[in-house]
């Protein structure tokens, strides 16, 4: 199904936020919309977004390449994005990242064999006072989890796994 068939109302709402002669501004919200369900944007969707806002497919692809929260490849349903920047690292974030990876049996950047979790080492999330911090990017949006311990994180991952299995 095309994006227009699936999300016609939402596309109108997004376009309405910008002056009609500057539709291009809608491109980033449209990319978010397109990748919401599957976690990434397909070539067909890129072409459709390009047509909606009046730019080329290449330009859409270049935006997906430039911004770290946009994806063009299928990876884990839940992207576990852990900050290891200086303020978090001073409070144990490097260790936390290693522990989460060890628990899942993968390295940063990899996806668990069941396709559920991808661990990503990311840059500052603006929650430095609550390190260690992880954001979870998924079809449900982006959620912050702060002042984490490994136990809390394992509990969270188990809950996400159970919710997926229940579906």
């Amino acid at each position: 199904m095309s994006l227009k068939e699936k999300y016609s109302q939402e596309i109108e709402q997004i376009l309405a936020k910008y002056p009609p002669e500057h539709k291009r501004s809608a491109v980033m919200p449209l990319i978010y919309m397109a990748q919401r369900e599957g976690g990434y944007v397909t070539k067909e969707e890129m072409a459709e977004i390009a047509a909606i806002v009046g730019i080329t497919e290449t330009e859409v692809a270049s935006l997906i390449g430039f911004y770290t929260l946009f994806h063009d490849k299928k990876e884990g349903i839940y992207r576990l994005q852990i900050c290891t920047d200086l303020p978090c690292a001073l409070r144990g974030a490097d260790r936390f990242l290693r522990d989460v990876c060890d628990h899942l049996g993968i390295q940063p950047g990899e996806t668990t064999p069941d396709g559920l979790f991808t661990v990503e080492e990311v840059k500052c999330l603006a929650a430095c006072d609550h390190a260690p911090v992880m954001q979870v990017q998924s079809p449900q949006g982006i959620e912050y989890h702060e002042q984490l311990t490994l136990d809390m994180t394992i509990g969270l991952l188990d809950a996400l796994r159970q919710a997926e299995e229940a579906e």
Partner: protein, 418 residues
Amino acid sequence: MAHILLRHRDIPDIDQLDVYVQNGGFAAFKKAVTTMQPDEVTEEVKASGLRGRGGAGFPTGLKWSFMDKNNWPHYVVANADESEPGTFKDREIMERNPFQFLEGVAIAAYAVGAHRAYVYLRGEFWQVAAWLDEKIAEMEAAGYLGENLFGTEYSLKIYTHLGAGAYICGEETALLESLEGKRGQPRIRPPFPPSYGLYGKPTVVNNVETLANVPYIIANGAQAYRQFGTEKSPGVKIFSLSGNVNKPGNYELPLGATFRELIYEYGGGIQDGHKIKAIMPAGASSAVIVANDEALDTPMDYENVQNVGSMLGSASVIVIDDTFDMDWVVAKTIEFFKHESCGKCTPCREGNYWMLNIIERIEEGEGSPQDVQLLDNVAHQMQGKCLCALGEFATMAVTTSIERFPEDFAKRVGGQHE
């Protein structure tokens, strides 16, 4: 002292519209729209001495007065791209005291004659954006946004817009490019946004915290605001305290409070009884300060922090204790800037790449004293050669750590290990 910005700490439900209104909310916006000419609003903000809280410290009222009145429409864009490692103040304002921020946006829009304002949030603030959308809808329903505000001809709409994970979009011209649906890469300046901004139209770009100050200034007057802070740096500031302190968090203090007060009185001192070693007053972009008594007793305002060889920036104070080596700290900041360089200017794109290469070699124990010199050399080569400040910021911790903590680097390249 009652908070000016973090008012939710005194009035917990101030994120509810009726509570905000009961506590004087929107009185400043109403006063501006119904009793003041737009230029009078700008003059009042100018007189308050408010300076940009996003890092650059540019006088806010002056920025507003630069708007080109021969070119319309005008826009206001709130910079909520908060991404500097160590900064987490704007998020607290938007989450806990959202109406005060939005009222600040509205007053700024009235002052510069804008009928459309955008709040550009970093993509990670997805939940915050949804929350602000709710708050904006509540304001529209209550008649604080929309057409014919307070029975006048003035109308205003505010929209949120999400970025998608790029530190560079905190730079105002990169932010505008991004808002136009392009890659977030800085523009050549001049022209500056008040003459050529969003869609080529005059635009004011202000940080969230800056705008949150505005309702107080309009409601109480510039002189009342000047009772806080110092002569040259008036007002209050939110200090984001992070790193090796017992109580990291946001602290709203008058400008001119000392590092010692912030770190020991409010932050509860250093973790685990360790000793303080270094301070980065402006996040990862800081020149690093040796945390001696002179530094600790320095007033945190725009002028004095410069006098001890750093800058106040967005006042994101990262504290480093004596269990960490500064070469490791530098490796962390270089990794950050290498990742966040937008790639437009060669010195920044290539310089960060090579700095990362060298520091990784040093961290792996494969470095030589010449590598430290080379690192310093590359950093100095980058300075003053880029379109925006990122290329400059990327070198600050590098050059100052090598200069002020040479022993940490010597230890790493001399073959000795801890």
